[in-house]
Symmetry: C2
Subunit: 414 residues, 2 copies
């Protein structure tokens, strides 16, 4: 028996669902629109995609997406397809063309969203996964319990290297664990990457010498392959412990090559995720999408945050975080660290912890730290203490009675 790749979809179709499923399976394997003499039963048995499961969920009167076939009713279903691994070999790029290629454009489809992915052992064995993951990130950042307390350099873009370093100096003095560039901050002439890294690492290294603890800074090295390699090497040389790449901006080959070259954790930013996911009847669920990037080697993956300022629901955020933490398989867990951000404060700590059952995460706050009346140091402490309360299952207000910085924070976090 050949190993098979399984993908699940949410499908809406104006056609008979069984026929639509067969058309999709055919289009994505040996079939075509017209019967061909070469598509023999043997070839089809060997190379055809198989409809493994088709559960009707309900019907609607109008199609979710335009351009499909016209019908009186459109049926929504769960669909599971499988392919023999021989069709494409253990190759992520060719997997993409198979599980997420032309099928979204079919006329039989008035809604299609990929919801899950299951890969056989030989496929997983061909990919490295995260080099650092949760354990490596904890080791490098010297944070052994609770989340990494993090923040993002703001304004997103426009600060000079020196201004960036000043902000980092304040954060590091305040005991921050993790700092990241904004995804818009790259290598513009107002803030060249090299100068920024040198200025920031000077401050970070000085603090590390004094305190023994080095804050992890994710420098956004997104760029061409040569640029990314050169920038990675500079960060490493300057004593940095993390690099960041915008995954949709560099693509699959970009991350694969960066992972091959890198000896630092890769912080995977998901900018652009909205155009892949914001229409519920099209595109990608986070579960299959994040799996692709973990295979290739992302150590950290953004999942938004509870009660965020964006349009994503809390349920979706938690589902995304659970997906990132879920082992891909027992032999190849490839777990990455979820990164919570957007409108975050200590008030989300307990709910986040309850929902995912672990503090193996990075919790980044901007205003939640900077706006603290006691300064950045008090802001960092307050967020960390909110997590102490969460981990001890203690009401945050009770804990705040003993921690003045948290008491103050509770007022402005509201």
């Amino acid at each position: 028996m050949s190993e098979r790749i399984h993908a699940t979809y949410w499908l809406e179709t104006g056609d008979d669902p069984a026929r639509a499923a067969e058309v999709i399976a055919g289009e994505q394997s040996s079939g075509t629109f017209v019967a061909l003499p070469n598509e023999t039963p043997e070839l089809k048995a060997r190379s055809g995609a198989r409809v493994e499961r088709l559960n009707v969920l309900g019907q609607v009167d109008a199609p979710s997406l335009p351009g499909g076939m016209r019908a009186h009713r459109y049926t929504r279903c769960e669909l599971e397809l499988s392919w023999p691994i021989e069709n494409m070999g253990p190759s992520v790029p060719n997997l993409m063309s198979t599980i997420a290629g032309n099928l979204f454009e079919l006329r039989q489809v008035s809604g299609l969203r990929i919801t899950g992915l299951r890969l056989p052992p030989s496929f997983l064995a061909a990919y490295p996964g995260p080099a650092f993951g949760i354990e490596g990130t904890r080791r490098l950042s010297d944070v052994h319990r609770g989340p990494l307390i993090g923040t993002i350099i703001k304004p997103s873009v426009g600060l000079s290297p020196e201004q960036t370093a000043e902000q980092v100096e304040e954060l590091v003095a305040g005991g921050i664990d993790f700092i990241k560039d904004d995804e818009l901050q790259a290598d513009g002439p107002h803030c060249p990457f090299d100068e920024r890294v040198r200025a920031v690492m000077r401050v970070v290294n000085e603090a590390a010498e004094r305190t023994g603890k080095k804050a992890m800074v994710a420098f956004n090295l997104t760029g061409s392959l040569d640029e990314m390699k050169r920038r990675h090497d500079l960060v490493l040389r300057e004593g940095g412990t993390c690099v960041m790449a915008v995954l949709n901006s560099i693509g699959i080959v970009g991350l694969q090559e960066l992972r091959r070259h890198a000896s630092l954790p890769i912080h995977g930013h998901r900018a652009g995720w909205g155009y892949l996911s914001r229409c519920p009847e099209l595109g990608w669920d986070y579960a299959p999408w994040q799996m692709i990037w973990r295979l290739l080697g992302a150590d950290h993956l953004h999942v938004n945050g509870l009660r965020n300022k964006f349009s994503e629901s809390d349920d979706s955020v938690i589902e995304a975080a659970r997906a990132v933490l879920q082992p891909i398989s027992n032999d190849h867990p490839m777990r990455a660290m979820p990164v919570f951000s957007s409108g975050q404060t200590g008030l989300q700590a307990a709910d986040t912890y309850r929902a995912i059952g672990t503090a193996d995460l990075i919790h980044t706050a901007g205003g939640g730290i900077f706006a603290h009346p006691g300064g950045v140091s008090a802001g960092v402490e307050a967020l960390r203490e909110a997590w102490v309360a969460a981990l001890d299952a203690k009401p945050i207000a009770d804990h705040a009675e003993r921690v003045p910085s948290l008491r103050t924070a509770l007022e402005f976090w509201q």
Copy 2:
């Protein structure tokens, strides 16, 4: 005056449109959700995105996408934003994070689609564009008037190298100009890339020696960077004249590196385009998307075809083809060759020519060629003769009176 990057969007918002536009501009440049002391007026003037144009198109009662702010009315508008090039430098990956990053997830957005992109000269000068384009493709395929008549190897996946070569032999004997692998056919163990290339090129080279004309075969080398380079070199060594890559599957860095390495035209397949575009209120128009890939070096770009078997409308197909043919600028035209496919026959020739005003294209047909009762040779001739009629502005039925293969074809094409 700094050079600026301009992007246009179709926006739907539950907010006041002017405020929504400012929020989007802020999120994608120096702004954040909360006012920051560091975001000085000077910094904002230097680095902020600017709302260049905001035209209200109309209002609707319900939001197109969920998760946004609630309102009684949702306003639809055309929005043009601009950014100083200093924010990101002339870098396609960082351009992506800026023009197509977090903005799709904003609560102010209940619909957002990027519709256009305009890049300043210094940005364009930093990218190579297609190495071959229309002229190079015509030279290598020895087709100097009319479109390249092409086809796709079918079944998509499942043929052995020998079976593939047999199909190619028939096509080449029939005078075909262009053949491509299916995007699902890569390097599986049933049809390893190397064996396929050797078997196919043996047949192609033999025919070329006999006739002086070498058919262009686009071998799908989609894979890791090393695989793509190695496969490209094999194709080159075997006398091949084209390679194909699935753009969404390799990503921006993938194409950039392939272009740097390649000395053959790159046939850019757009599998996955559906998940980027099928929801009219989200994602990408083809015009900005194809521009990205032309900058990076795609020589051929798929545009579907008139009266295709997929869900795309004819208007959208023609708009896509025109975009691919439109010079990016006078100094950097970077024109690529549009590839028409899906349900194509000679019946679409005249309409296609009328709509785009040129035959600088590849017209691929499967059933439209293979199903010809006179065989593949007659099928190829019929499609070519349909284009002769189109170019001469002659009714196809009149021309068919003098061309028996076309006369026969007109019956089964209906």
